[in-house]
């Protein structure tokens, strides 16, 4: 059984010589490729920034699911209605 590897894209970036030297040193210390270290570092940082900005970035499948829900919104379930009634009673409104 083969495990599908994620789609890869190329990134080119100029970085200060000092950072490049650190990257080489880190890679050799950790016994890992420079690419691995870059992926780990920027992946985490990008995720953190996205989170901080509460930007909602959905993949294709999830966008399709949302679009379909919007075009054909489900009725409230009995559970949801019962809870709404409960809320209105508790809040006294």
């Amino acid at each position: 059984m083969s495990v599908a590897s994620p789609e890869m894209k190329r990134l080119e970036a100029r970085i200060p010589a000092r950072i490049k030297e650190q990257l080489e040193q880190a890679a050799s210390l950790a016994g890992r490729s420079q690419t691995d270290i870059i992926i780990e570092a920027i992946g985490g940082k990008a995720q953190q920034i996205i989170r901080e900005h509460e930007a909602i970035v959905l993949g294709r499948k999830d966008q399709i699911k949302l679009a379909k829900a919007l075009l054909n919104p489900p009725k409230a379930t009995a559970n949801q209605k019962r809870r709404a009634k409960w809320y209105l009673e508790e809040s006294g409104s």
């Binding site: 930007a55 909602i56 959905l58 966008q63 409230a76």
Partner: protein, 172 residues
């Protein structure tokens, strides 16, 4: 003695500097830290509104939630679906970014009460929004939202959603 209703026990009001934030403990450190360090700034900068549940007897903060607007990028849809959407490529949404209940107040359905308080607050707004999104800060918080029959995504397990239509139908 009859139990007091949650609406009598708690005032739900916008967070101000007068609320005691430093004693808030809900069991999720990130949420405690948010209320203690970040929430007031966020509401001052108008990037989120923060509502707190204040115990009417003691003025202790026993819960909070945050609301903000969000745009959901809809840029990867097949053309057949995209054509049918009114405001492609971005959908206006309300985001409930955080919701937490103090450990002292857990087990009284205050979390459910706060969630429905948020629904009741945003539903009548005269602004265009189509989707109500919640962000579970980690996997352990997902089951809480599932009790309310939110729809889940296939890949993004930390966000769940309801359409405005579905929410309106709950109260009809």
């Amino acid at each position: 003695m009859t139990r007091k209703k949650l609406g009598e026990r708690y005032r739900i009001e916008p967070l101000t500097r007068k609320h005691n934030r430093k004693d808030f403990r809900c069991g999720v450190p990130a949420l405690d830290l948010y209320l203690q360090k970040q929430a007031l700034q966020d509401s001052r900068k108008n990037v989120a509104t923060v509502f707190v549940a204040v115990d009417a007897a003691t003025d202790a903060v026993h819960g909070f939630y945050t609301l903000s607007t969000a745009g959901i990028a809809m840029d990867r849809l097949p053309a057949s679906l995209a054509r049918k959407l009114p405001r492609y490529p971005s959908l206006p949404a309300i985001l409930l970014g955080r919701l937490a209940v103090h450990t002292d107040a857990q087990g009284q359905k205050l979390g459910s009460y706060l969630l429905y308080d948020a629904f009741a607050r945003v539903l009548p707004l005269d602004i265009g929004w189509a989707i109500f999104l919640v962000n579970a800060k980690d996997e352990s918080l997902v089951p809480f939202y599932q009790q309310f029959d939110f729809q889940s995504f296939e890949d993004d397990h930390l966000h769940l959603f309801l359409t405005r239509h579905t929410m309106a139908d709950m109260f009809s």
